[in-house]
Symmetry: C2
Subunit: 500 residues, 2 copies
């Protein structure tokens, strides 16, 4: 592998793509900010089809202006937006995936009246100070931030892409790729129509490789390439006590307590180190030396994570953070029975529920893991039902577990030594003159695996935005410096020839 | 003991107290219904001092009309109401305890607009049909019910008492006792001022024995005498994960999961039969043959309880329901962590909480039991704190349990062979010509133990209302037949001479 790196390095040297001056970039960033403000001003909650239509019309204009042919791809729910530059048969094809929809907003939780009006802010001690956009005309402070829904997730990267195209044109650069762009309208709603749509529009989407510009870069702020992401599935477990909550004086230590039943079954799923003890749960996962090296090269500080999250010792599924991500998780994301705190009442509750999520890796098929967990519960003597038990079932079984299964979103992972991945890493490391952080599998789940499975092409996540962007939360924001980073990244990737 | 019963039986035979005709009783019931409607119409939420004042003024009038001297006993919070008939030195003194306050209401949960307006209903298949009070003038249906807050808990018994006094007067009966009545204003709020008030007003409250008219009769509907009640204390247990909820993709199987920590500690507290495995938890409890006989004589149907509450097998702390009540309970009344159901989110929660209640018996001091549970948790390697852990504590300990302790309300129990208890049982069995159900200890907690400890007198609960009265819940109700029962019971107890 080392030789390969050297060859690529030489190729990159002879093919310098970073012709832009800092002033060019700043001017492009300035234009991007104005365009992003327009774009953010269009509410984009996928619960509202009109919102999505307005965003798609805006995108149609913007991509057309840059010479793209655009189409609206109908799906079984909201349409997808597709754009492509005219094809040249001699060039490889690069498909970009981003999304135009955003998480719902609750304005009362934001530090601004309208989450769809972009606000410019500078850091002010622990807090933030509003700045005037006119102040950007003299000079641009890359530490200032733009606050608003989807500034980072995921409208910012779309605008960076458009402005990189402008800059390439201004510089008279020839693109090294045929470029296709697919923008999802329901990414924040799990992209349910996507797998079928990819089958339907397979020809249109055909490419040599896929780049997903979504999610945050590594917290170190360094250039980041991600080779995969965890999948997810869920289980909801409910145990049963008396049919209705009962007075705990009258029925405490007589009516079965669903909380103890649930605690006993959960307690047996993990050891005190946090390792899953259900047989077979970690089957199929091996980490070879080369992989181990890449995992260790990520500039994480496990100590910094502990300090930030304020716990003494992490669970010991992996020896360190990146290694932990290579294994499927078993997480109690919710527990509920009766009431707690001020609302607590002296009852024997009727039910107790644990909500589990299982983050998946490619070796861990979600259906198989769910089966293992169910088997474990059955082995504890539970009668398992998928629906509310009937009176007959209640009277026939001492221990009943209602299990509701969530759907499976598969994990995906491109091999670390994939040549397109190497191309991305080398191009970016040359552009930014620093090592690129390579993440073998990221924690979050991008619902992209069925997409990749259909097209059978390698996929990579190239995130453009700051890690502390409050994605999905109030006060979502984008650091202005990331716009410069994104424009430069798109510029370099689009204008650098693939090695032969 | 058998001889003693025979002597009492003879005494009762020679001292017939049930001079009333069925028509007398019906007329008294009719009057009681009108008076109860007036009384229920006065909201009585102890959160509102004005409510309580209005109720006390109404009671002042009603007791004065019956020849009682009344006083308002000031406490550190809301006042108590006290009434007494003129004392005669030759007579033993009987103290009655009831309460005038009621649980808060949420009208939206009731089948009537105003929970303080008494509604008359008859059973209509599975449901209820509203009836006109005028229909009671021709004849009274003892199966019909009065719906409204405190009809049963505990205004009904107060009105039965007043009307029994009227009937005794009408019949020219001489009372066998000096009568004192204490009405609590904060029973539904745990009677916090009561222990101190009993010390302050000790002279006024002095009596030979105490009768508490609160809570429901045995579900069989039979005359019931209760010798004690369980006490209660609570523990709130909280474990800690990351300082704030974290994305379960990024931190599942890395950040410690508070739900698993909690499940593991709870699972170790009980065996799968529901018996507490914490050493010493059941110390000091012995049940002799005579007691066992009384427990077994209670006409419970464990099968009926299982069928009603829809579980196959009860926990095995006792061999049957009444025996289970002789032991302290350890009940998970609430569990909470993250969110469940539709609100579930893919997070590693910051905390997980279990709310426990421990129902006490006289052998089980609440402070001792709480100490045993804490010791158990400590033995699992937990660092215990009473308050939110500091960052230093979080970084120093892998397993932290925040334990919040509730106050202890002691259990009380009068011996089954107490002569006053025998007097009650015999008088009632003679009045109703049936065996009286004797409950050694009832499940619910009446905050009366400190009261008894101060006065050093035997105490009994003589419940007056139907078991299915929806006490503390929406649609609280009183079966009209219970008014007749209550009037007859008070009549008999007050007019029957104690055996020498």
């Amino acid at each position: 592998m080392k030789n390969y790196w050297c060859i690529l390095f030489l190729l990159v040297l002879t093919n310098t793509t970073t012709a832009q001056t800092p002033e060019d970039i700043k001017s492009s960033v300035r234009h991007s900010i104005d365009e992003l403000r327009q774009f953010v001003a269009l509410p984009n909650d996928a619960l509202n089809a009109d919102d999505i239509d307005r965003n798609i019309r805006w995108l149609g204009d913007k991509f057309n202006q840059r010479g793209f042919n655009t189409s609206i791809l109908e799906t079984e729910n909201l349409p997808l937006f597709f754009a492509a530059l005219p094809m040249e048969d001699t060039k490889p094809t690069l498909l970009f995936y981003m999304h135009l929809d955003g998480q719902s907003v609750d304005p009362s939780k934001w530090d601004q009246t309208d989450p769809y009006e972009t606000i410019l802010k500078s850091q002010d001690g622990e807090g933030w100070k509003t700045e005037d956009f006119a102040d950007l005309d003299a000079d641009i402070n890359y530490d200032w931030r733009l606050f608003g829904r989807s500034t980072s997730d995921d409208k910012g990267p779309i605008v960076m892409f458009l402005n990189a195209i402008d800059l390439l044109k201004k510089d008279g650069k020839e693109l090294a790729f045929n470029v296709r762009v697919l923008l999802d309208s329901e990414e924040e709603k799990s992209s349910k129509p996507l797998p079928k749509a990819v089958r339907t529009y397979k020809e249109l989407l055909q490419a040599d490789f896929l780049i997903i510009n979504d999610g945050p870069a590594h917290p170190s702020g360094k250039a980041t390439v991600i080779y995969g992401c965890r999948g997810i599935t869920t289980l909801s477990l409910t145990t049963f006590g008396p049919i209705k909550p009962q007075h705990s004086g009258h029925y405490g230590n007589y009516a079965p307590n669903p909380g103890f039943q649930l605690a006993q079954v959960l307690a047996g799923m993990k050891d005190t180190d946090g390792k899953v003890t259900i047989p077979g749960y970690y089957d199929g996962i091996t980490i070879n030396e080369a992989t181990q090296q890449v995992l260790k090269s990520v500039p994480d500080s496990d100590e910094a994570i502990s300090n930030k999250l304020q716990f003494k010792t992490a669970e010991k599924v992996g020896a360190f953070y990146q290694e932990a991500l290579q294994y499927p998780s078993l997480n109690i994301r919710g527990l509920g029975s009766g009431w707690i705190g001020d609302k607590a009442r002296t009852i024997v509750p009727a039910t107790a529920t644990a909500e589990l999520d299982l983050r998946l890796v490619p070796e861990s098929d979600g259906t198989r893991l769910k089966r293992l967990v169910k088997k474990h519960i059955q082995n504890q003597g539970f009668y398992i039902t998928a629906t509310e038990p009937t009176i007959e079932e209640r009277m026939a079984h001492d221990k009943i577990m209602m299990i509701k299964e969530g759907s499976v979103t598969d994990a995906f992972r491109t091999e670390l030594n994939n040549p397109y991945g190497q191309f991305l890493v080398n191009t970016m490391s040359d552009t930014f003159k620093e090592d690129v952080v390579q993440i073998r599998i990221m924690g979050g789940t991008v619902p992209i695996a069925p997409f990749i499975n259909e097209l059978q092409i390698p996929a990579f996540v190239v995130p453009m935005v700051n890690a502390d962007n409050n994605q999905h939360s109030p006060n979502e924001n984008l650091k202005i410096g990331q716009i410069a980073y994104g424009i430069q990244t798109f510029y370099a990737l689009l204008s650098t020839q693939l090695p032969n």
